[in-house]
Symmetry: C2
Subunit: 420 residues, 2 copies
Amino acid sequence: MSSNARNDVSEQQESAAKTGHRLSRRHLLLGGAAAGIGAAGAIGVDVVVKGGIGASAPQTVPLFSGTAAVPFFGVHQAGVDTEPQSRVTFVALNLLPEVDRAALRRMMRILTDDAARLTQGEAALADSEPELAVVPARLTVTFGFGPGLVAVAGGEAPGWLRPLPAFTIDRLQPEWNDGDLLLQIASDDPLTVAHATRMLLKDLRSFATVRWVQSGFRRAAGSEKPGTTMRNLFGQVDGTANPDVGTTDFDGLVWSQADNPGWLVGGTGFVLRRISMNLDKWDGLDRSGRESAIGRTLANGAPLTGTQEQDVPDFTATTPLGFPVIPEFSHLRRARSENTAQRIHRRGYNYDDAPTGAAVSNSGLLFACFQADVDAQFVPIQTRLDTLDLLNEWTTPIGSAVFAIPPGCTKNGYIGDTLF
Amino acid sequence: MSSNARNDVSEQQESAAKTGHRLSRRHLLLGGAAAGIGAAGAIGVDVVVKGGIGASAPQTVPLFSGTAAVPFFGVHQAGVDTEPQSRVTFVALNLLPEVDRAALRRMMRILTDDAARLTQGEAALADSEPELAVVPARLTVTFGFGPGLVAVAGGEAPGWLRPLPAFTIDRLQPEWNDGDLLLQIASDDPLTVAHATRMLLKDLRSFATVRWVQSGFRRAAGSEKPGTTMRNLFGQVDGTANPDVGTTDFDGLVWSQADNPGWLVGGTGFVLRRISMNLDKWDGLDRSGRESAIGRTLANGAPLTGTQEQDVPDFTATTPLGFPVIPEFSHLRRARSENTAQRIHRRGYNYDDAPTGAAVSNSGLLFACFQADVDAQFVPIQTRLDTLDLLNEWTTPIGSAVFAIPPGCTKNGYIGDTLF
């Protein structure tokens, strides 16, 4: 994820080597998951793995620990190809009218400095509660730029950096839309997310005001085998088709190449859709109805033509009566394209806010995804789902935002320095 | 915690015995913490502990795992003396007008049955998303009865089961007050809390409506050494003076004895105060000002007259200038009584909701505590804090609720069966 591997990662490699294990590139890509090993050693635990995690040879196990840290500096920002943490807070801000290009530069220097510290378990520069900073728990802070910020910076915006086209299924509530600056703050520890969010919002006091805050969750770190695809609140396995981190496939789909403005090379595009899920209505649907709507089994997420989650769906298979096994209207069929370039890297979270009135839930999905070109990758998928996707019966997009995620930076630079 | 130890606990003991470790009563009291060991085995990890957790002999380490389960049935309800989980949702409900004693009995039978299943990682009886039930992560569900429910049941209410006396510092917002029925749903996994909350609220559809929902968090399981006292969002170590679980001291302070109505013996009293914390204003205070306000160091929570968190404060110690080292107005001095019966078992959580307007935080403490007699234990402490506690400058109680927590039940009974 980063070419500037930090000291503690090297120490973990050394320590792993001593105990006869080796950290593969795959483990390093898992970031904090692998980093937990060193920390486990620190509290006096030897971990010996026999099999598991889909391999026959002995290997390290990602033991969760609060001291695990994901490198901040690197070619790309962290928080994109990082194995998703358990908790996230997305914050969008509006720049104050007086903020100009020079102020933006100061703002990003301050934010970069504090984010770099906090992600490594160090207090922010003016940290008023330094004791809350000591548990990074794989904290990542990822910055995104909206069209307004790029304009103030006088930079060239990629063509896709604008509100998404209006979809017929949308019932957008303005309070969840758009923004000039995005913070994605994610960690396996909710107190860490709260503290980092507060420190960064304090940095932003003289530059911007909060536009919206959206918090979400997945299973806690340690609840499941690492790499398990998340389930949403419908009980669906959600995100199976993601490209594999560390492959050229992933790199091509996610990281901006030269066809985007130069300042964005090594960055990516980000879409956040707040999707309300009507759990009460979903209750009225039986299991086979649910599986038809999705095109996958609920039990393990296998396509209806397969037995394992990762099986390739067979869209030509038919039932004895001649109907497609994976229905035309199913989410799986509508989301999938013949064009393999029309894919995205999903990194969503569930939300579950307090219900009001007679409803027993106020829940949904923070559908978050990364792709090099939003127009070429996300929009065609969403257009197909807009036209015909049975899941639309139970889901409603109520918020929408698009941001450009600038590349990472070196220790001497700051996030966004290619733009300013 | 329960005399009905479940099968998987026995299996863990057996498994622990095989590997040469023994689960002490203390470990059993830690519930899911210890239970993680069996689960670790299941995914192919051997854990060997060398020292740690404050003991010299080899012992088990509380390795977090989603499969860890806290027994549901027992003399007391779980979730009171259970080592606090990372996440909580408190829900208060209003009974529907048509609900009578017979309906209450049905309601509590249904809730008990589903809570018993869910806490053991089994689907609720009419679970629409059974796949979300498989990770209990130490889930506990604790039920509380407000005065309205006890009245409908025709039972005798303890004298303290009523709104707290009005304190001068209170700025209560009615939407956070009182209620007929309380659910405390806590787990180390946020998805588990969301699913259990939804299943139980579905059970309640024909009996009650939601009055308020308050969710909170502590550090994630695995972030810190088990038993570490939590920190609140002021950065304070919060809850040091708690009685030790499993001692006669704890039992006497927390579990109702014969001086409460008979149906409550083995139960306890519960107070939830929603305390808004003005982090912006707190920022204006330097470290020494903060430590004076609290009476403890921020670094490790030691009283200002000591060096370790658990040191007994010396209220007679004075500075060279003759002032008390622990100031008269400090929270520590005001909260502490000479009367050792005036103590409570705190089990609070942080909250951090989306800020509005120019504020950069909307945060505070879900101050939750258990005590056998609210009037004799909680009220005198709060009265002293109301009169003079410098912390009142930065904190405001905005919600308040009192519930009677009935005792636990056997497999053939249901929560509240001593009342009905």
